[in-house]
Symmetry: C2
Subunit: 412 residues, 2 copies
């Protein structure tokens, strides 16, 4: 009997990181769109532009606590006005001022008709039912004009914009209650492998604790995207049964392990047998070479499968670089990871594959400086206690102190 095995280093047919990312970005169909209350739309991507239905400010209003005044001209210090009432913020205004009259008014309150200027309370002396100014005051002081910030019909947000906390506040202020957004894909996470310990006793028999399910679960928590997790043993029959069920129920099957060329690596052969079409397999990178991407096209929908290797470092890179990109693409955003440029503080030897190294980054005088952490091997994760970025190291290049590299800042 004679077997041939896939090679490790000099293998041909591998695609580059940029080619893999381009396929991840350009392959997916979006899952669809839906209307959501703004309060439930944090981190969603807009499926339509948002236009203002109102002017902002909605009405001309006082910018200060003070007195709305009607005067034909600029006012000199010492001038007095008859005090004819008071307007609180949020109160409807039915008064009209006549020349020589003033009304007490508060910040944000609608100014009465025929108001020509507003005197802030610091320059006003109140005498029974009159007020007297203690400083000169020009026309149109401290008035916020209707539509000064936003006018009706103005575009507030573009299609594709992600709704940050600030965006939600800004849209709320313009009276937007509901937004059309891209749906979240329905995601099944499949952890393969017989080696996962369920208890401390299991450890005695060659099993290990699983970092991948907790990692993936926490990562999706930061994205506010729900997932369902399945564990499956390394058996062709159980993997087949599970994938066959999942492909009809989920938009994305995300797997860990079982994508290499080992005798128990069933993810790819089973997927292909079930009718998944391979988009790519194996990427010229470290960690995470045997990554597998496929799609199962059905009449009215497609199920995607992204198979990450089982090594936890490969899973970490897979989530931060590839899954983040894929999740965006499934929501209509064909955009790359936001690579951030940083200056490396030490030399690094060349490697035949492009690498993603876990590093620690800090700002110094406006410059982002990055340093490699020890224990970068793909079965090791303990340096994630210190890492705050993943830095791309191009293949075949000796890196020198001071070189500018592209990194992925980790926001959690």
């Amino acid at each position: 009997m004679s077997k041939s095995h896939g090679g490790c280093g000099a293998e041909t047919g591998l695609i580059s990181v940029d080619e893999a990312l381009a396929l991840i970005i350009n392959t997916p169909q979006t899952v669809g769109i839906q209307s959501l209350p703004l309060s439930e739309a944090l981190h969603r991507y807009l499926a339509e532009p948002v236009y203002s239905q109102i002017d902002l400010p909605l009405f001309s209003q006082s910018a200060v606590d003070g007195y709305a005044i009607c005067s034909e001209t600029d006012i000199l210090a010492g001038s007095a006005f008859e005090l004819v009432g008071e307007i609180r913020a949020g109160e409807a205004v039915h008064h009209k001022l006549a020349i020589g009259q003033a009304m007490r008014i508060f910040t944000g309150a609608q100014i009465p008709e025929y108001t020509t200027t507003v005197a802030r309370q610091e320059i006003v002396h109140v005498e029974a039912n009159r007020i007297r100014l203690t400083a000169d005051l020009p026309l149109h002081a401290d008035i916020r004009d209707i539509g000064e910030e936003i006018s009706i019909g103005q575009c507030l947000a573009e299609k594709g914009q992600q709704l940050s906390v600030g965006a939600i506040a800004a849209l709320s202020m313009a009276g937007i209650h509901d937004v059309m957004v891209y749906k979240h894909p329905k995601i099944a996470v499949v952890i393969t492998g017989d080696e996962v310990a369920e208890s401390v006793e299991d450890l005695k028999s060659g099993k290990i604790f699983d970092a991948n399910a907790p990692l993936i679960n926490a990562w999706f928590q930061t994205k506010h995207i729900p997932i369902e997790t399945f564990h499956v043993a390394d058996s062709e029959q159980t993997v087949t049964q599970l994938f066959d069920h999942l492909k009809d129920q989920y938009d994305l099957i995300l797997t860990t392990g079982g994508v290499s060329v080992g005798d128990y690596d069933f993810v790819r052969p089973v997927a292909l047998k079930l009718g998944f079409e391979q988009i790519f397999w194996k990427v010229k990178q470290k960690p995470g070479k045997p990554m597998f991407f496929a799609q199962h096209q059905q009449v009215d929908r497609t199920c995607y499968l992204l198979g990450l290797p089982g090594n936890p470092a490969a899973v970490y890179v897979g989530m931060q670089i590839y899954v983040s990109t894929l999740i965006k693409a499934l929501q209509g955003q064909q955009t790359l990871v936001e690579w951030i440029s940083a200056v490396i503080q030490h030399d690094l030897k060349a490697d035949s594959r492009e690498r993603f190294l876990r590093m620690s980054a800090e700002f110094e005088q406006g410059i982002l400086q990055v340093n490699s952490l020890s224990k970068q091997q793909s079965h090791m994760l303990s340096n994630l206690m210190q890492a705050n970025c993943l830095v791309r190291i191009p293949a075949h290049q000796n890196i020198q102190t001071g070189d500018v590299l592209q990194g992925c800042w980790i926001f959690d």
Copy 2:
């Protein structure tokens, strides 16, 4: 009748931003600690250091798919070994190898006793029940040694460390199931003001849409901290009733509006009447000058009250700078906002108060460059559609293109 009003610009007795932050950091007692499953501990702060209960790797294992070999010396290409079995990852090992023997093995699987080296499958030719090496192989190749990454008793994470996605993965891998963390404070958010529109009809009568409740709600969503929100009219009686109830039920009352010196600003007078002790009132900053911080000490607990002004820009700055700091302090983390240094791309005129400006930042060749956005007035928020940072501008300083400033990167 004669009234005196608080001044606006040259007021005395205001504290600086740094003084306010120091009081926010140093005043609070922590809310307590609790044990949580690691899977529910994302973004929590550790209340105790975490030590490893196991070695990692747990056992000596193969780093590759290949063959575990027993040989007294380095091996030359062409050497043959008797193939005596197979070990899968996660399988208990009962075999012992004798000199001249080999076993099929997979990545992460425990090596059998007396293994001296591992041959990756790429350099192995299989012939029935023998294998022959196609390349030289030294002793101890591709073996991951027990405890190579982490040894029993090693400190995995320090007290106070925040649990990121990576940290959760790293601790999971070391078999940590539960962690002692600081409790989240129980938070009541109180939106004051008669001017908040409940419907589009309300707008006709001088009311406005509320940005503050959606802003605060979304901000706490990003932090995974639950809140309860209350709306209250500008009436002394209703504010009193509400605060009196909340002070016994919550660790933190966070209010918007009603903290200035207007005739309807009841937050501070009501809090003082109910026995809250003022820690500070008014900060030399823009926006957000009339910020109010107080505490209500009870036998076995303290309720804190942070009163933000009602202007949405002040609320935004309040959340990103002060509430983030306070929430950390209540969880035992007496640490400042992580100021990031950035290079400004234009001049800015001096102002008598320290300012927080909404800016857009981007990386260029490792340098973080920031640009002011228009519409910085405190009642305006629309530039939050573009802003990704808040930059601190010191008081009384003319800022010039190229100056390095401290900013707060906005991670949502």
